[in-house]
């Protein structure tokens, strides 16, 4: 059970009165390898986040394949449900940002949205209880995919020279402002965009998981105080009950944040793609 590193090292047992509060830190995101794949030169550690990420891929693929393998004109059952999700991405993200041009990118955006969402939702699924996107590598890979896609589309639609010229020298500016504007524009389009895309998703899931863990641990820890007699024990019970309810409320709040972050990730991808399709005039 104690598969993560930091809390496993806390030696306190329940009812131990001299035990300090085992505050969860960055350690709860470090997992021990369940097994290792040896590839000769290097070896790959299979940890819980890796298994959950593979599970997310399987879930998303299976649901969409089951829904759309034999599509019917009048949808029934699962196809009905999944079509609502597909239409949400098409109408609220792709068409809202890119207009009719967006229809080409709906499959990409839909896969992105549902994959990110499933990875986030793993935070509150019992037994899993770990947001896969709070391991930095997963959002980084997704952001890199988005980065390659919008750079490629920009170079394809505006020409290699034209695209970078449009980034560095946005037309219609007074000539004196370019020394100031060019470094900012180049830096923000090439570097800051993918970096903040990855950090935003990672940091939100990291913070959310940490917050839930702090209140879960404190519900357990304050119950510990009830071994004292009298007033301290009453405080312990009250604190423990409050912490437990805060955990439940936070879980509901996290559900909202998870969907919102998946939405924002996809929305920003659509904005980046849209800026690559047409040069600013």
């Amino acid at each position: 059970m104690a598969n993560f590193i930091s809390l496993a090292e806390v030696t306190c047992k329940f009812g131990d009165q001299a035990c300090p509060f085992p505050a969860p830190g960055a350690g709860i995101f470090e997992w021990r390898a369940i097994t290792s794949l040896n590839l000769g030169l290097t070896s790959i550690d299979i940890t819980k986040p890796v298994i959950l990420a593979l599970l997310c891929t399987v879930i998303v693929s299976v649901v969409f394949l089951a829904a759309f393998a034999r599509p019917k004109l009048v949808p029934t059952g699962l196809q009905n449900v999944v079509e609502v999700g597909y239409l949400f991405v098409r109408d609220n993200i792709a068409r809202e940002i890119m207009g009719k041009d967006g229809d080409r990118f709906v499959p990409f955006l839909t896969s992105l949205f549902f994959f990110v969402w499933t990875m986030n939702v793993m935070a509150i699924i019992p037994v899993a209880q770990f947001p896969v996107s709070s391991r930095f590598a997963f959002p980084v890979v997704l952001a890199l995919i988005v980065w390659f896609v919008y750079l490629y589309l920009g170079m394809k639609n505006q020409g290699v020279v034209g695209y970078f010229k449009n980034i560095a020298f946005p037309p219609g500016m007074p000539i004196g402002i370019y020394p100031l504007l060019t470094p900012i524009e180049v830096l923000s389009t090439i570097i800051i965009r993918p970096v903040t895309l990855a950090i935003r998703l990672f940091a939100n899931m990291f913070a959310g998981h940490l917050l839930i863990t702090v209140f879960t641990v404190s519900a357990w820890y304050l119950l510990n105080l009830t071994n004292f007699v009298g007033f301290v024990s009453v405080i312990g019970y009250l604190g423990s009950i409050v912490s437990f309810f805060v955990t439940i409320v936070l879980t509901g709040f996290e559900m909202f944040i998870q969907a919102l972050q998946a939405f924002i990730f996809t929305l920003l991808t659509a904005v980046f793609i849209s800026s690559s399709l047409h040069a600013e005039h």
Partner: protein
């Protein structure tokens, strides 16, 4: 070297507090003006909400970087 003033303890928390000031003000402005815009022109709800969330995401990133920095660079 003579130390004139020193802060000890959880510097990461202080750093996060400082990092949250700007985005806090920014997010307040974004949603305040967004709600006002929706109240004035309810039929433009879709477009306004889209841009509201976009601006929120960009402002929020700064606060989140402040939250993650202490974990990344050590307390």
């Amino acid at each position: 070297m003579m130390i004139l003033a020193e802060i000890t303890g959880s510097l990461g928390s202080i750093g996060y507090g400082l990092a949250a000031i700007g985005p806090g003000v920014g997010i307040g402005i974004i949603f305040g003006n967004g709600v006002q815009a929706i109240a004035r022109q309810p039929e433009a709800y879709g477009v306004i909400r889209q841009n509201m969330i976009l601006g929120f995401a960009l402002a929020e990133a700064l606060a989140l970087i402040g939250f993650v920095a202490p974990f990344v660079f050590g307390a």
